[in-house]
Symmetry: D2
Subunit: 303 residues, 4 copies
């Protein structure tokens, strides 16, 4: 047995050193360190394809560049995320911002001022005025798309923004597919709705199931697979179900960063080991559940 | 100020009496009682349309009949739920079961035995053998559907089961639309995938955005609106975004049953009051956030 | 394997029926039902001595009568609780009240109005004006006490109140020892401080360690032991450490109602099984961890 | 409004830089940054006396040196902690260790092997064999103590260990009082019990209330006061009640690191703002509630 070695960090300690030292103590800190080790291993394993799932309002939360950094690994298979994260990424790519806010603000007053609150982050409701023309002007282009991945890819293509500033652009430039089964459930969905309610001439046909062929194919053909889940929800679950078709029954590496708990029975809170029963995770896989706010844990793990 | 009146329940106390008494004490119990009052009020308000959102594995958890009971209110507008809940409902409607399990079971052993674990509930992996022929045999019927609501409605139509035993059947019989933006992310999605990978002849075109027209129209035309969220995720968020188009800026009644917390910034944990800033909830609305396992809270609230 | 049997409760269902039915479903509801079974078993086991630990602000929360009900079992060994719960019990026994409050109240305004907030429960700061004379007038009596149990017992003796209305009185009348290691950390502690700062003539000698002899003796001599923890903290831990001296290494029955989680490493969130490693819980013991707000779970379990 | 500035850390980023950047994003990360700012401010405010409360198993968790670092501030008033933390500090000071463990270990097997589990940290049960002679040999010294602070101080005095390796030694050397109202509830308590059960000759008289005079005096005489709570429980509450006697109604600075939540009504989960109603926190105080595992948050905040 190895003794606990108390943390001795100071202001000049590098993150990588702190995270390494966290591996020598107990409780949640050690999970951060284990996650960091697994992250290093899976990103260096050339046979491994990494499936990244990101739920939660990570872009408003300030994690956009961390997500891009995560996608830069050469063996990234895909990103599965929520329509909300893509909408917020698009909003920033179009020159708008999210703002430092206060969770104790008066919501009725914010509403009068045209400010939407996401816990302690604010957003101007007027951002939609930038989204509208982007879709309106490019609608003929969007109409050519037939599935969700293509549609999202098209957004990335049309954006004029530095790839370091937009997940959508980065993924477009580097041919990383973005899957988003519930795309209708988002500001982007609202923009599509805003067009299609105007009648036949704006009709668009985006298939709800078609992307499954691609992600399951990616899971099926990967020699090894790794998963990184930031939050749960649809992004996690969509990857999990695809992994049932992976080689030898499930992923080889797994990192889950979540604040949700197992005992409520939901998929978001289910620890990765539950996936072993389903054949979504190998019994011998290297995996860890990190119970921490992702805005704190993510920069430490991938640094 | 009204004094706290200590609970004096015994085994013969009726649930309705206990819940009433819970309104006279503190902490979480009072929230159950308030939710029950709001539930009574919104279901009796003839001008109000109720939008029900159900995430989490509520069918495996044993809440199927409670959900059906909730939908029986005459002013139910729609049900928004996950593909998982619909798949589990379908599994039971086809004669299969979920089972009493143990969260401390050995997942590797369960995997060998063909048993999938959902916390302390088990399901045989062989259920998919019943799903396959259901979709295979009825595929020509399904191919006629053009959006997700129609597709789900068709499942309900084709099922031969008592409506008290299936959410899908009940909603079909009573013309309650079921919306499920992330339908691809589920066992039902897998069944569709199993057909479409076999080539052109099995092609199906289910539009990803089309249902938005209907649910937003429902929000737009309702004189008043009420929301009931069991868990968060896509079901909650899809209703929330539609409510931005509701009369006078947001819902009039709201009940949220969740174990998630505000401070992580996600939509699932956001308290209903945050919706006031977005115009998804009226400032003067009657609403409550119940922090409790839904398998405990739901039967008490709707009893 | 037994199939999940969906809950079918209505307003006339008795609590005992609902709780029984909860045993046939999944997730947290089943834990309530298991807890209720274990409760029945341990209270009927004549060889078993029950150690009850109550943390949290259960008296302000409205659980006073539930706690008394729990203590009425003939095989109750003792109650271990916080000074806060005893102070709040005393406050009510002296004719004061706790009140229905609102967690979103303006705390600065409440402070001006002399109201103390405990989440959604209010208490007048003036209650201390009733406590002061109670201790002042009876100080000579209190000075005779030499350990914490005696001191608390003396409060119960001096109170003129129906035993159904006060934990302190009930325990005094029925010779149930109350242990409270951190008694100084409470309003009662403040009252003692208010006397002893006035100098030598008010001196009192209450030993900090003496009660250990009694509770460890109770654990040592019990043929079997059962534990009921409402919350964690000192009450749980004080019983846990005493159980290390129990017959054959630990308790035979255990119920823990808590909302805290294991992964933070604290004693409050530790599941009962962790106690097996310490010899505080038998490997073959019947025990359950209920993850629920105690104001909801407690009345259901003991009904 | 200031825009969210996405985090761009890499492995060479210093902790202090990361924490600074966390102040420019949302959710939990920003709380870490705010806490770090408040920490700097309160430790530099010469008029301020800092009351440190530490619950949870922070010594087994690997936070011993972080706690010592926190106590090194010249304006530290006192440390209030649990008997468990002091026992674990003493165990290490006597040359024993805590070990890297696994939360999924078989507790029954651990029990056979004489290993106690604290989530993912192990401790040999044989450590008590080192504690026994320490108290036995020094018992005459301990018998001279009359209150809990003196008793704990005596442990620090008698220890032969580098002050950087022991909270008890550091506090003794630097005359920082340690208060521990529930000292009986700990391994140290067990050692006292082990002596006093042997009869009159080992009698010791440690007063349960006496320390209140000192801590309330410290609160009363401080020009300004600051609080740092790692976890809740008795340490937090004991400081909170003393602050009711502080100048102008409550603390001027506050940091709370906790994973507990407000809605259960307990003191541990109560956000610092609730203290404003009680006069334990000034309305204009600078304070923050950090919702994070302390083993992760603490090194970042005080670095």
């Amino acid at each position: 047995m190895k003794p606990i070695n108390h943390i001795e960090a100071d202001e000049n300690t590098k993150i990588s050193e702190l995270v390494k030292d966290m591996g020598k103590i107990g409780f949640g800190a050690r999970k951060i360190s284990i996650a960091s080790e697994i992250y290093r291993e899976m990103t260096n394993d050339k046979e491994c394809k990494i499936f990244v799932g990101v739920a939660g309002a990570m872009v408003p939360g300030g994690m956009k560049k961390q997500i891009i950094k995560m996608l830069k690994n050469k063996n990234t298979a895909c990103l599965v995320t929520t329509g909300a994260n893509l909408t917020h990424d698009l909003i920033e790519a179009l020159g708008e911002h999210h703002y430092i806010g206060d969770e104790r603000a008066d919501d009725a007053k914010l509403n009068e001022e045209g400010i939407d609150r996401i816990y302690n982050v604010f957003m101007k409701n007027s951002v939609y005025e930038k989204l509208e023309p982007f879709f309106e002007e490019n609608w003929e282009e969007f109409k050519k798309c037939t599935n969700i991945r293509e549609f999202i890819n098209k957004i990335g293509e049309l954006l004029v923004v530095d790839e370091e500033e937009s997940i959508l652009k980065y993924c477009y430039n580097h041919e990383i597919p973005i899957y988003c089964p519930a795309i209708a459930d988002s500001g982007i969905g609202m923009m599509v709705w805003g067009r299609i309610v105007k009648g036949e001439k704006n009709k668009i046909s985006i298939d709800a199931f078609d992307d499954m062929k691609e992600i399951i194919d990616q899971a099926w053909t990967a020699k090894k697979s790794g998963i990184i889940y930031v939050g749960g929800g649809v992004p996690k679950n969509f990857i999990q179900q695809s992994l049932q078709f992976s080689k030898d029954n499930g992923a080889d590496y797994g990192i889950q960063i979540s604040t949700d708990q197992p005992q409520w029975g939901g998929s978001s809170g289910a620890p990765l080991q539950e996936g072993i029963s389903w054949g979504k995770m190998k019994e011998k896989a290297k995996f860890v559940n990190v119970y921490c706010d992702a805005t704190i844990a993510l920069p430490m793990i991938i640094a």
